[in-house]
């Protein structure tokens, strides 16, 4: 058997997981605010370090994970995630608790992921979208935001505002978004209202 070099996980799993979780928690608590992630990971491309940190902090054998075609096309990514988290990687988007999306522009419709049920709205997917930069151009309102706040990220789907409006309209059902990249994470929970800035 040939030797396979596996990219390292967290240097200090306990505290790195805690710090990454806290970044995700504050990101969802204060939508639009970018929380720094310093994980020091070097995952296989096209997985970025921030998204990898979120998966390593939040996923384990209980959380089916779905990879978008760009990530699924690189077997090293699945090997890396499977090795470090033990999460089952599923082919059906609807079965996933977490979904990793490297190319948000071409991503599936939000409705293709688990929305939860009226009795259990928590049984819904969390989508981790890899972004290159946090920009501006959107305005957010809702729980966690004192009034309104400016936000933006790239790349995002062309119909992002319409998608988020539909997601909000389905509240308490819907998906929650974590946008990961550029050294940080931003959260867009289903409770947020996204408008053009």
């Amino acid at each position: 058997m040939s030797q396979i070099l596996m990219a390292a996980g967290f240097a200090d799993p306990v505290f790195d997981q805690q710090a990454t979780f806290r970044a995700a928690m504050w990101a969802l608590s204060r939508p639009g605010r970018v929380e720094p992630i310093r994980a020091g990971l070097a995952p296989p491309a096209p997985l970025n370090a921030e998204a990898a940190a979120l998966v390593l902090a939040l996923c384990d054998y209980e959380t089916p994970l779905w990879l978008d075609p760009a990530l699924a096309g690189a077997p090293a990514v699945a090997d890396f995630l499977r090795f470090h988290t033990g999460a089952p990687i599923v082919a059906e988007a609807r079965e996933a608790r977490f979904a990793l999306i490297a190319e948000p522009v071409d991503m599936l419709d939000f409705y293709d992921f688990a929305q939860g049920s009226p009795e259990f709205p928590d049984a819904s997917a969390t989508l981790i979208l890899q972004v290159d930069a946090f920009t501006a151009g959107l305005v957010l309102e809702g729980p966690g935001i004192n009034g309104r706040t400016a936000f933006g990220a790239a790349p995002l789907p062309a119909d992002f505002i319409e998608r988020m409006a539909a997601n909000r309209a389905g509240f308490p059902l819907g998906v929650d978004l974590l946008l990961a990249g550029a050294g940080g994470v931003a959260g867009l929970p289903r409770s947020v209202t996204v408008k053009e800035g």
């Binding site: 306990v14 505290f15 709205p121 969390t126 308490p172």
Partner: protein
Amino acid sequence: MNAHATGAMPEITYNFAYLDEQTKRMIRRAILKAIAVPGYQVPFAAREMPMPYGWGTGGVQVTAAVLGPDDVLKVIDQGADDTTNAVAIRGFFEKTARVATTTSAREATVIQTRHRIPETPLTENQILVYQVPIPEPLRFLEPRETETRQLHALAEYGLMHVKLYEDIARHGHIATTYAYPVEVAGRYVMDPSPIPKFDNPKLDDCPALQLFGAGREKRIYAIPPFTRVRSLDFEDHPFRVQRFAQPCALCAATGVYLDEVILDDKGGRMFVCSDTDYCNERQEAGHRGEMAGEAGRASPSPQPSPLRGEGADGALNLSPTGKGRPEGPGEGTWGVPTTPSSAGDPGSARAAPSGMTK
């Protein structure tokens, strides 16, 4: 993972903050969903903790899941830092997580609370963790979980309004004084845990993140910062909080929640701040209530005093932290009397509440 091995002698060590990492991830995922759906009770696989149900097992698990090595932890029980429940939980995290602890609401980054919200306004970098006995606000109206789940799914909260209406029909006013139901972000009706309704206005638009943990009932829910939280009421019977006729006897604070302390068996009583940290801070700043004694005598005692309200040196020496509260500190159930009026002295002929007006 975080074991501190020391030579030959085996030392009992814990993973950071007691819980194993898989448990923490499970709780953390529940917390994220709770934040995304404000006021909705997320089921989680609560673990057995080394303390009985009712002593804050839910709050402890939430705290353990969010806590990091740089956090400064404060634990309060009915506003006090030095009661059994607060001391025990603070000691638990000092031992298992080695985090810094404080009694100051300003210095803390994580505050675990049983049944009070600090008087000191919270900031947006703080996390307030509530210990919750019964998370389901509709439970005493509808005992079946399958039914209450349906009622939440349909946002069918008529039952709760009927209950409040029956209060009015019977007592002439809404007689619910603690665990007063609230509507979060215009959708879910939520039990704010048995805080006095005096604290309800602090839930609304609070800059801090508020997390609620119910260990026995296995539920976690949350209020994100700056979220609209409305106490249920009627147009002709608007929500009102308790008012106190007199200021704190030790620090002269007004507009704060006061505990009634029985001083003797002849009807003597005093009203002092329920929030010991707030009261101490005010006394240090020179505020003196009518029973505080001369400066320097009734100096605030941040440490638990062995006298603890025994009044061995005369009643005026009562430390603000030893309030002689009648109920046991750990009986974390819904039935704990939380209003001064319910803490009347049974031995007194003048047990009628006198300090509180509607």
